[in-house]
Every structure is written in C-alpha cells, then in structure tokens.
Amino acid sequence: MYDDEQKLLAAAKELVHQGIRVKDVFSPFPIHGLDPIIGVKRTRLAIASFMYATGGTTLALLGMWYFMIHDWPMNIGGKPSFSLIQNLPAFVPVTFEFSVFCAAHGMAITYMIRNKTLPGMPACNPDPRTTDDKFVLEIAASQNHDHDVENLEAALKQTDLMELSIKELA
C-alpha cells in the first residue's frame, strides 16, 4: 500500500522492470500513465459504444417506421407520414437521441459488468482505504513463478511503500 500515487507509479515501474507481474492496482482515482506500465490493454469500450449507437439508430428508425408509418400513419403538423424517407428530417432528432441513449447506457452497463461493479455485487478491493486516499498495488505469487515469495517481498520493500500485507488466498 502506498500513500501517494507518484510513489506507486515509480514502484510499479521498478517492479515491472525486474520482471514482476503486477496483478492489479486499486486507487480512488485514475492514475495517469499507469496503464501501459502494468500492461493493461487499451479498452475496447469505444468499439462497443459504436455498436450500441448503431443498434440504437436502427432500432429507433425501425420503431418509428412501425408506429408512425406502417401501423397507424399519423398526420402531424401537416406532414402526413406515408413514407419514412420523405419524412426523415422529423425522425432525425429522435433517432439521434435514442442512439446516444443506447450508447451511454450500453457503455455504462458494459463497464460495470466488466469491472464486476454492478449494484449489489460484492466489493473486491483488498482494503477499503483505497476508496479514500490510499493506493494498493497487488501482486499475486501465482502469476510470478520466476520469483518466490521472499524475493517478491524484498523487491516490494525496496520501493517507497507505506504498508505491506501478505495474504494466503484460497
């Protein structure tokens, strides 16, 4: 555990340099420049968001075509709706809003599922203080077969750390 994100950043750099795999980092806020150091791959959330938006666009147009044109043609403001393409301008705002709606909600839900932080899910951070002002760097011995536990402990103690706890995980 570290009490400053810059100390953690330096430590992570040093540990990775020694060939130690960092399992995860817990922090109250995003730490700038950490991802490439500990080898977190670039998020694919943007691609998912684009797909949600495209889905939203399709769904909105399909829905409006069905409600307003196919099932029950409506005359609104002197624009009788017998054709989707001729009345497209009227449908664009709703399509746009619905695309944004789908992208935003889809993105938020995907994010929470991937991080296992949906409402009601059990918290999995090792120390509640990481939600306040402390930073935890987690190393799993099972991921570092080249180094034994004493070796890892020694390497961690070399860094500017505040607290070290070793846990046996089932």
Binding site: H32, G33, A46, F50, G77, G78, K79, P89, A90, V92, P93
Partner: protein, 409 residues
C-alpha cells in the same frame, strides 16, 4: 531560430495566385445577362472567396482568444500558427469592405437591399418587406456596424500579436494575465458580432428571408475551416522538424476539434433546415426551395453541390475520424481535412450564389470559380507563411509552455 519559408511553398503560392488572376480575368470576361454586360457571377465569387478566407482568420482569432480565456495549456506551443492565420485579417477585411462599398455604389447587385429605390413608398420598386427592415439597413447603422467589425477585429488582432511578441522578450505572467482578460472581452464582442456580420454580409443577400440559426451556422463553418487549416499546417511544420515538441497527443486533440466542429456545423445546418422544413412557412421555405427545386417540377442545379457538400462535411469526418487511431494518422487527417476544406468552400458558395444568380443561368460550378478559390488560397498561404517567418515559431516565455510540451492523453 526563425522559420524560413521554403522556396517550394513560395512558388506554390505564386503559382496559385497566378491561376487565380487568370481565373479572375477569364471569369470577368465571361459576364452574364443578355449581352454579357453584367458580371454578377464574378462579384459573387469575390464575396465567396473574400468571406471564406476572412472567416478562417476570424476563426483563428476566436480560437486563439478561447485558449487564453480558458487558460489552456496544451496549445501554448503552436499559438504562433493561429497568430499567423489571423494576420490575414486586415487584407481579408479590406477585400470584403471594398465589395460592400462597390455594392453600395451600384457596381454590382450582390446585396439586393442596397438598391435605395426599394424603400421609396409608392415608388415603382417599393418592397414592403425590405422597407420594413429599413432601419437595420439604413446607411448610418449599416456602415457603423461594418466599421466597428473591421476596426475592432484588426485592433484586437494587432494587440494580441504585439503582446505575444513582447512576452517573448519580457517574460513573466503579467502580460499573460492581461491577454487573458482581453481575450474574455474579445469573446463577448465576437459572440455578438460573429452573428451580426453573418447577417449583414451573407444572410442579407436573401433579403426577404431570415433565420435565427444562421449566425451560429456561419460561425461553426469558420471555426471548422480554421481548425482544418491549423491542423494541416501543424502537421506540415512538425514533419519539417520545426515543432519538435509536438507529439501525437497534440495532433489527436487538434483533430478532435476538427471532428467535433464538423459535427457542430452539421448539427446547426440540420437544425436550420429541419425547423424551416417542418414549419413550412412560405417566406422561410423559399430559401430552401431555390436550392432544392427549379420551380417547374424539376430539381434545382444547386441541389447536387448541396447534397455533396453536406455528406462530405458531415458523414466523411464522422465515419473516418471517429476512431482514435485515425486521429493520430497524419496522412488520413490531411486527406480528410483537404476534402472538408474544399467542401466548406462549396458551403459558403451556396450561401451566396443562389441568392445572386438566376437559376436559369446556373449550370454548376465553373472551373474559373475553383481557379479563383485557388488564387485566394495562394494569397492566404503566402500571408500566413510570411507572418510565421517573422517571429520565432515557438514562443519562448509563455507560462504554459512546459505544460504544453508534456501534453499526454
């Protein structure tokens, strides 16, 4: 070390200007009207180009002051690029001013409302709607506004440039704070005047028509062309090694602006269109009917360029520049940027031409019109390059310089 204009660029801008001069002469000789004695098409093109490039400069001045007013750090290194771009303001504004004066003197008929006989009640040409706007178009008020725009913009541009050069010598933060304050004042002025100058110089061409969205729409157009030009210029200077501390994050952010403002432009274009289309009020709809239909059951000659430029200005940047990797790929940015740059010329073109040229006489964009565009572009390029070479390319004492060099996203 100052930037030296490469010989090739000088040659290029002179060649472009030569093409422009030939196109101007050719276009003027074409004439129109029954015996070719009118040259309205030529004058209209002068306004299109005159406005288009002044708009880039205004966009640059706006963006520059925006950086100060918002205390932006990342753009500090290449603020000289924007200074160079707004150095074209005096020349560009004088061109527009000359067009306005010649219009008022009756040498061309770009602005229909300048015909004073429209306001004479009971007269042959009396037009009730235009006469109703008489107070706004009265000589005193109109010229007062025009002089205020021209004077104010040139004064602000000179002031910022001077202070920026002074900062290089003196350093400290006092000058920066002064520029910060002055920027906020400029933005307030610009918020009002960018709209009113769009009404005065462009919207008044279709004198009977008006749209409250117009000012913003023109403004977003000038902003996006400014961002494209600035991005391409930055990439070019970086490639030649003049901006060693520009990294991919800067390029990414500049392209984000290009992308975002393209969307803003498309949004405003569509909002204006949709409201008018939906409300279907004759006096408003006529603006679009001239651009869509020929009045005899066929399509308007303006429809094709209109649809093309809307797709290039909206769909192209949206689908191509949306990805992160695309915003860091120089070749892609330059390619898409140049396309949008030309498409925005067509955008300004369609603001002016349909209101000044009879549809029956119009058969698409002529070659000499593109030639004039090239000529004005050459002039603009030369002025910008000259201004770039006059001062160190990277400011030395800007307080945010350090932050800008370490920009990372």
């Amino acid at each position: 070390m100052n930037f030296v204009i490469p010989g090739k660029v000088k040659t290029l801008s002179f060649v472009l200007m030569a093409i422009g001069v030939i196109a101007m002469v050719w276009g003027f000789l074409q004439g129109d009207g029954e015996h070719g004695e009118h040259h309205q098409r030529w004058w209209s093109n002068m306004l299109v180009n005159g406005f288009y490039f002044v708009a880039i400069s205004l966009g640059a001045l706006f963006f520059y002051t925006l950086q100060y007013a918002a205390e932006v750090g990342w753009s500090a290194q290449f603020k000289r690029i924007f200074e160079a771009m707004f150095s074209y303001l005096p020349i560009g504004l004088v061109i527009v001013l000359v067009l306005l004066i010649t219009g008022r003197l009756g040498m061309h008929h770009t602005w229909h409302w300048m015909d004073q006989s429209l306001y004479v009640e009971g007269g042959e040409n009396y037009d009730k709607i235009i006469a109703g706007k008489g107070a706004y178009f009265s000589d005193a008020f109109f010229w007062l506004r025009t002089v205020i725009y021209v004077g104010l913009f040139i004064w602000f541009a000179n002031w910022f440039r001077k202070k920026s050069l002074l900062e290089d010598k003196e350093g400290g933060t006092e000058l920066h704070v002064k520029q910060f304050k002055r920027s906020a004042i400029f933005l307030v002025c610009f918020a009002v005047f960018s709209s009113t100058l769009a009404w005065d110089w462009l919207m008044s061409i279709d004198t009977h028509w008006f749209s409250t969205m117009y000012g913003w729409y023109v403004f977003s157009g000038m902003w996006v062309t400014c961002m494209i030009f600035a991005t391409i210029l930055t990439l070019w200077l970086r490639k030649r090694g003049h901006l060693p501390h520009i990294n991919d994050s800067h390029v990414h952010d500049l392209t984000k602006w290009m992308f975002a403002i393209s969307m803003l432009w498309a949004y405003l274009w569509f909002c204006q269109f949709m409201l008018i289309w939906y409300a279907n009020i004759p006096e408003e709809v006529q603006y679009y009917t001239t651009r869509f239909f020929d009045g005899h059951g066929g399509l308007s000659p303006y429809l094709f360029p209109l649809v093309m430029m809307f797709f290039i200005n909206f769909a192209l940047p949206f689908y191509i520049l949306i990805a992160r990797d695309a915003k860091r790929n120089s070749n892609l940015i330059v390619g898409v940027g140049l396309l949008i740059f030309c498409a925005h010329f067509v955008d300004v073109y369609l603001l002016v031409i349909p209101g000044t040229i009879h549809m029956e006489q119009y058969h698409g964009i002529e070659f000499w019109e593109w030639g004039m565009f090239a000529g004005f572009f050459g002039l603009f390029l030369l002025v910008v390059m000259k201004a770039l070479s006059k001062a160190p390319l990277i400011p030395t004492n800007h307080p945010f310089l350090e932050e800008s060099e370490h920009h990372e996203i």
